[in-house]
């Protein structure tokens, strides 16, 4: 094992048991005090707490969607509406069609149907917007939120704009929850259960796939994440939590009308997520609480100031959000996080059995064959008719002046980009037109010239994203925590690879706090975690100190011994010439020379390209 020197960087702060105990003790004490106080609280406050809980469920979904997956929706209120109206309609309609007779009057059947309807609608909306760039989901949800609002108001069977009133109370397992003080317990039990499930999800293979979206889709896809599916999952989960809130809403209010599901309500939910802080799960509860309480207070105070009634709190919240986005985009949770540090000590990574490894190709076999590769961007030819082979157990460098088309070449080899012409064969199969995810599954891993890590995530979890395709556990098992044995094997693998690149002391540090050179090493560890047979490294030595470079060279040498094929782009000529077996020189998109380092160094064409010649 080669260990890279890591002397000068601050090591992570030791997390004492007492500080993590305080972290949990404060919210727990608050929760217990609230639960104990509910029976004696005036019903006005219980109603407020219920409203906070109902909103928190929706906002929790938005935190997953916005803060974690980097997408956003203004239509969450519409999903609340689907859950609410399904429930209200089934509960109030005495003449259900025969195929729905079984569901009449049954709260659980209403929930089931509401969820199915929500998933269907959200699924369609997701299918048509999530492949497009990020603006279309919010726009689509605005349009859809407005359309649904008018639809609710138009259907006479849904009571039109006046709504449906006198709905029955919730009867579950023999209990009737017909007072706010009673349904309080159900609401908050579901809020806490959802928060627990969301926390489990984020701490798992499926959750990391969703979190990886925020690090750039090219990165996520190159690690084998099905980007579209991860986006759709986050969107469906957020819709699901909204639907659940709508179901509870109906049994809390015993009344529905279109207004609470309008686009303005959808905007309010997003504001709650932003005020609380979309980067942390508990931000959802804080945001919902602050918003509901502040709105309540402002509705009392503002009309007295302005002298007439109106929706004036919108002005205050709007100004607040603009200020928040300017000064503290992380919201309350982000501010607390930056002030009092990370999420606390993580459990020790257990020594789990190693993951099974792929069979490596035979030493010396040509794993990557490139023939006549050409890439045009409009009139610019970035790569022109490039051909070369890469063999197992070889380190090959692609060098060339800036703008020679090296990164374009890398993007095509890793299927992040499609060639205009030419062939790429990976282990005997043509991969032109493949998805980045597929070539990752076939055994090619890469790093990026501009480091693509998730700065707020721990180094260990960042690296574990690389092992995505070596795990199998899905969403449901992650949420229920049935994935632990595989999860510990994935984390153990990530830890092993981090130790291998010399970052064993930084497992739980936030990746963003490392130096650039160390971040490059994290990227290499992440690529190694995928158990590849071909490694593409885009400027791995840039930003590394001398000692770190030596250690990296030693590591690459060792990988070569093991039969790995390494292709690297690098500007540090000392590093390249002492390490690699062969060099390909690219100038203005064309390969001009290929050969042994010393031959290339002496080639007049290379000297001309780098230094120019005297006429």
């Amino acid at each position: 094992m080669s260990a890279l020197p890591t002397s000068t960087v601050r090591s992570e702060p030791a997390m004492t048991p007492s500080s993590s105990r305080i972290r949990y003790a404060v919210p727990a004490a608050l929760a217990i005090a609230l639960v104990a106080a509910v029976p004696v609280l005036p019903s006005f406050y219980v109603t407020l707490l219920n409203n906070i809980g109902l909103a928190a469920l929706v906002v929790l979904g938005l935190v997953l969607l916005t803060g974690v997956a980097g997408m956003t929706s203004f239509g969450q209120a519409a999903f609340v509406g689907i859950g609410g109206y399904t429930t209200a309609w089934l509960a109030s309609n005495t003449e259900l069609p025969s195929w729905l007779q079984w569901a009449g009057g049954s709260p659980l059947a209403a929930l089931l149907l509401g969820v199915l309807l929500t998933l269907a609608v959200a699924g369609v909306l997701g299918l048509i917007t999530l492949r497009l760039s990020g603006h279309y989901l919010p726009l689509g949800t605005i349009a859809w939120g407005i359309a649904l609002y008018y639809l609710f108001g138009t259907f006479q069977s849904l009571g039109g704009y006046t709504g449906l009133s006198n709905l029955p109370a919730l009867k579950l397992a023999g209990f009737t929850l017909d007072k706010g003080e009673e349904i309080f317990y159900l609401i908050w039990a579901l809020v806490l259960a959802s928060a627990w499930a969301a926390r489990n999800l984020l701490d798992s293979r499926s959750g990391r796939a969703i979190r990886a979206l925020n690090g750039g889709q090219a990165m996520a896809a190159s690690m084998g994440v099905n980007v579209f599916r991860a986006k759709l999952t986050a969107f469906l989960l957020a819709a699901l939590l909204s639907c659940l809130s709508g179901w509870l809403y109906v049994y809390t209010q015993r009344f529905v009308s279109p207004t609470p599901f309008s686009i303005n309500a959808g905007i309010d939910y997003l504001f709650m997520a932003l005020i609380g802080g979309a980067g942390q799960l508990w931000g959802a509860i804080v945001g919902a609480a602050v918003f509901v309480l502040a709105k309540n207070g402002l509705e009392d105070i503002l009309p007295k100031i302005f002298g007439s009634t109106g929706n004036y709190e919108a002005i205050v919240f709007g100004v607040l959000i603009v200020l928040l986005m300017h000064r503290a985009p992380g919201g309350i949770a982000g501010w607390v996080h930056s002030r009092w540090g990370g999420r606390g000590a993580r459990r020790v990574v257990p020594d789990a059995p190693a993951l099974p490894r792929n069979t490596m190709p035979a030493r010396g076999a040509a794993v990557l064959k490139v023939r006549g590769l050409t890439r045009r961007f409009g009139g610019l030819v970035a790569n022109k008719d490039i051909s070369f082979d890469l063999h197992a157990g070889e380190v090959l460098a692609v060098i060339g002046p800036n703008g020679a088309g090296k990164s374009t070449l890398f993007n095509q080899l890793s299927c992040c980009d499609t060639p205009s012409a030419g062939q790429i064969e990976f282990r005997g199969r043509s991969v032109v037109g493949w998805n980045a995810r597929h070539i990752a599954a076939a055994g090619l891993a890469r790093t990026f010239q501009h480091v693509k890590l998730l700065p707020r995530m721990s180094v260990l979890e960042n690296v574990a994203i690389g092992a995505h395709l070596r795990g199998r556990q899905g969403l449901l098992r992650s949420v229920l925590r049935l994935d632990r044995s595989e999860e510990s094997r994935l984390l153990a693998e990530a830890k092993r690879q981090l130790e291998r690149v010399g970052l064993g002391a930084f497992l739980h540090t936030e990746a963003g706090s490392l130096s650039l050179g160390q971040q490059r090493l994290v990227e290499i560890a992440r690529a190694l975690c995928a158990d590849p047979c071909v490694l593409l490294l885009d400027e791995p030595a840039a930003g590394l100190r001398h000692g770190e470079k030596l250690a990296l060279a030693a590591l690459l040498g060792k990988l070569r011994e093991e039969g790995m094929a390494v292709l690297l782009v690098e500007h540090d000529m000392d590093f390249v010439m002492n390490l690699v077996d062969r060099v390909v020189v690219v100038v203005f998109g064309e390969k001009i020379v290929e050969g042994l380092p010393e031959v290339v160094q002496a080639d007049p064409r290379v000297l001309e390209a780098y230094l120019g010649v005297a006429e």
């Binding site: 299918l127 917007t129 497009l132 990020g134 726009l139 407005i146 750039g216 090219a218 002005i315 986005m325």
Partner: protein
Amino acid sequence: MDLQIVLLLGQDGLTSGAIYALLALSIVLVFSITRVLMVPQGEFVTFGAMAMAGMQAGKPAVLTWLLLGLAVLRALAALPAVWRTRRPPARGVWGMLVYAVALWIVMKSLPLQSLPMVVQGLLTLALIVPMGPLLYDICFKPIASAHALVLLIVSIALHGVLVGLSLLMFGAEGARSEPFSEGGLELGPVMFKAQTLWVIVLSLVLIVGLFVFFNRTLYGKALRATAVNRLGAELMGISPTFAGQASFALAAFIGALSGILIAPLTTLYFDSGFLISLKGFVGAVTGGLMSYPVAALGATGVGLVESFSTFWASDYKEVIVFTLILPFLLWRSLTTRHSEEEA
């Protein structure tokens, strides 16, 4: 449904379609230059209509206070930098304050109600257009390079603030202004209302004007360059702040003018602008938020669909119009090969 009804509905559809097209162009313009999805576009429409109707009804021009407030706010926002650098703020900051005060005095002293309609319209524009760059400076300039999502959120928040202020300034009652001219034009079996012709003609003039501005003038080309590549344009000496301010000024101009045009046709309320501008968004989406001609065509289509669905299924008018966005998105989704990377 006979020919007369078709022509009548078509006329209505084209009128609103022309307004949606103007708004769609403005949305595409602001988006391509600043990456901001201009959700508050509709508030400029409301302001334009309300200012006209207010003047004609003899009400005080409350929007002068808003302009003054924004100018003061921007001057205040510039103070910390002045304190830090010990250098006076940009000339525009004081200039705008002077302008706002001067306009306030002019509006106070003129007999607004009895002025010719053209002058009322010009005063309305003089009042609203500067709000565009002011809002850009206050809300978007400090975060010009932020993630597109942040810009969108600020845009939505700004919309909320402006709608709230709109209620405060204009109250909950609807308002309608007088038509530009009476009478109309009889063409075969159908009578074109004069106001309809005004809307269509002025929209066309504006669209052609924008085309000429962007293709023939240096400033227009500079804005286009910024839209194509912000950094590249900046290196060529085009200030991104200027581009942002200019695009917001154009947005405010187009919005206010749309408001002036439709105020005689329909009763507008303090929050009507939002729905109107969202239909512009549907049009802009059909053009992929990029193509001006497709956006204009799409928006005209939205106007026609809306008008004809009033006839067939008037209860479902808004549902149909806003669901219209889905097939367009589906089509784009099927024709776009890669999921594009976030800007």
